[in-house]
Subunit: 474 residues, 2 copies
Amino acid sequence: MKKIKRLVDHIISRVNVNLKPIGRDVEKSVRQSIRTDKLTKYYAYYALSIGHPWYFRFQESNLGGTYFLGKCEVDRSVVLMSDIRGDELKPKGAVVSFGGLETELYQDEIIQVVSSFLIKTLVHNHSRNSEIPEYFRILNTVAMHYSNIHGTTTEGAYLGAFATADLSVLHNCALGDFAYVQAGDLSRASIRSGRVWIRQSGKFEFDYAHDPEVIDRYVTFDEAGQLSGVFSDFVKGRRSDFLPMYDSLAFESPVAIPDGAFLSRYAVVKGDTCLGENSLVAQRAYLENAQLGKGSNAQENCFIVDSQLEGLDVVAHGGKLIHTMLGKKVFVGFNSFLYGESDRKISVGAGTIVMPHTIIDAQEPINIPEDFLVWGYIQTQADLEGHSMSLNDFAKQRTVRRGNLVFEGDGAAFIEGFRARIDHILLENGACYDGKKQTRGHAQRTQSVSYNLFQPYLAGEEEAMFPAIVVGNR
Amino acid sequence: MKKIKRLVDHIISRVNVNLKPIGRDVEKSVRQSIRTDKLTKYYAYYALSIGHPWYFRFQESNLGGTYFLGKCEVDRSVVLMSDIRGDELKPKGAVVSFGGLETELYQDEIIQVVSSFLIKTLVHNHSRNSEIPEYFRILNTVAMHYSNIHGTTTEGAYLGAFATADLSVLHNCALGDFAYVQAGDLSRASIRSGRVWIRQSGKFEFDYAHDPEVIDRYVTFDEAGQLSGVFSDFVKGRRSDFLPMYDSLAFESPVAIPDGAFLSRYAVVKGDTCLGENSLVAQRAYLENAQLGKGSNAQENCFIVDSQLEGLDVVAHGGKLIHTMLGKKVFVGFNSFLYGESDRKISVGAGTIVMPHTIIDAQEPINIPEDFLVWGYIQTQADLEGHSMSLNDFAKQRTVRRGNLVFEGDGAAFIEGFRARIDHILLENGACYDGKKQTRGHAQRTQSVSYNLFQPYLAGEEEAMFPAIVVGNR
């Protein structure tokens, strides 16, 4: 185990060099999240997809339980039970635009994870790195349980549990638990837990702060490195359903997979579940008594239980729906938690946008109208008053101050930005596939995928280190 | 499937260029052995052993169902359901001796399979290549079902079903079905089916020929590429027992594994089976109601059914024992078939050597004394008369002519050579491990092994081609 110990020390030192100046010491979080006995327990795996260019190079790392898709390099890192999903990497020759200036990629874009520690983290590319658009880089970064690194270069960063860094570039930044940022380039920023912050410089700024008591109840990451609270209790209760799937190589879908739909063999499907055409169920998604209408998708770490999705619904990474009905084309943002019960269901009208990191913990039946924007923390129908607004009304605002929300700027641009993004997601996922090539997306392109499995050394000095592997051509 | 078709054409052309001059055309055998629909069905796997140096590089090949151990490179080949077992590769700096002249290895020895087609073949190294001892090379070679390439460089070679090339160098040679050669360097030789030929130049020559009717009954490889006969019927009847093992990643041994013993998780173990200390059961071995005494071993493609091995017994690759009792330190050579029934058991006395490719198909109980040499085809106790001799007597001979056997030369050297080899095998396998480092062998060194699995492309032009992979450092 000598080598893995040195590796962990190395990562801590690299991250702390960058984060101590902003008052963050990652040593405890990292050490206490690594269960040494588990480092040899899980295999890592990568997909050979014929629909995506791929290349993998792994060295001097532990990658237990992690899944890779696309083009990825991992050096001197510990990446545990995470998803490194490079299915939107840009090809050589693609033209990218930054602030109106265009430049062309001189090689295929690649995800690089270097000197980092990620645990149960979702990494989905679509880079915003204007310095080297060829690299989607996660460098000297620590990302805790169920965090999302999405379209975000992170160089010297800490992401707390259930935190999301979205479409940004982070240099020496720390995000508290359940914090969400989509704020362009950030440097030496420390974002407190439960803040939901979206900023487009010169255009708008959406800034919501969950109350500290709410964060305490839903996400607690204590000094001893123990994650607790409602979110993790919910997830832990269903963890054992995932295990048999990883022990077996044979796969038979428990439900019919209609034309154009994709069900990952690493998703859990239980009860009375059915999938519509062109729907996409990513790996590590959990469906139980779930009806997914045509073109709907359930991303990584989603839980859809006793719920119906009418169609073209997007449940972003980590979204959870329990006893929830979604009308058509509803968007449920990252790590949102919509928790109903059979006697107090949640229904969300067509076209509504549930902001990332929204909590709806229904104490009574809750009905959300069509074409609304919903945010924050909602327990009753009355709570909606202070935590939602029709999209049309929001588009007319220059300032919104309601409870913990401060919005300033161009409401129309904010709403339009969201709508465009939802359309982009549906397009990328192949939700509207009609047999023509230009409508193909992830659901269609990931069909003929095979998985290669690899494990660490089980004993000796290199115990828990994964072998150096190169697959395919750069 | 375009690429795999081109690959098969390529291999056929390379082998035929070398073998047509000696009258062998491999095209039919190769094409008819490849079931296109199966080329995407099986994963390949390699071991990360901490007891053996390893390195793997695979490119432009299909490797369905094949296992790799050690240092191996495969280029432009189809290697199906085979074992490429490089656990006796020599390290850099090792001194090898050829005809009394010594030379030192300038790098670690590596197995190279190039432009070849192997199916259900066992490759076990321990090279005899005086030209480049750093390479154990299988080049432009076709090896059919259950053949063994053992310590043998093959450059332009055809091995029929159940054929064995042992401790030799073959240049442009063809071995018929169930032929066995251990005859130094051979060039442009065509060995007929069922011949068992051991030659040490200037010392001795052992030459046995199975009757053509016997070969027809036990191994038939017909024009249509169908393998039939007693051997393949026997093997096919037990094939389904192997399948669940490959579908599951979890492994729990069905029997106790005593100190120093090794049981591959890819061996079948059924019924009332027990393993002694320091015993070794290689992958693709099949044990059913088998008692393996201390230090015994069952190599790849062995079947040990309703049989007892007292201890220090060696069952070489492909050896089959049914209702057979082995006394201590019995050697059963490659692909030997000892078939008893409950009312006509076979017993083999301690110290006896059963020559490679021996068939004992008991029509009545058969008892073979201690310290005997046994060869050929035996059905009754009376048959032993013409197919065995005490080792002491044999050692005194200069000529033996009995039935289909012609032996000429130094009987003592022949017997001593065999004994030395058996001791070498026991040593290499760790049969006499006593806790000290110098007594460790394969049984002990393969303990902490993990397996990486990899699959081919499942669709598109590259369908059935495996991805290019490099694992570890050369």
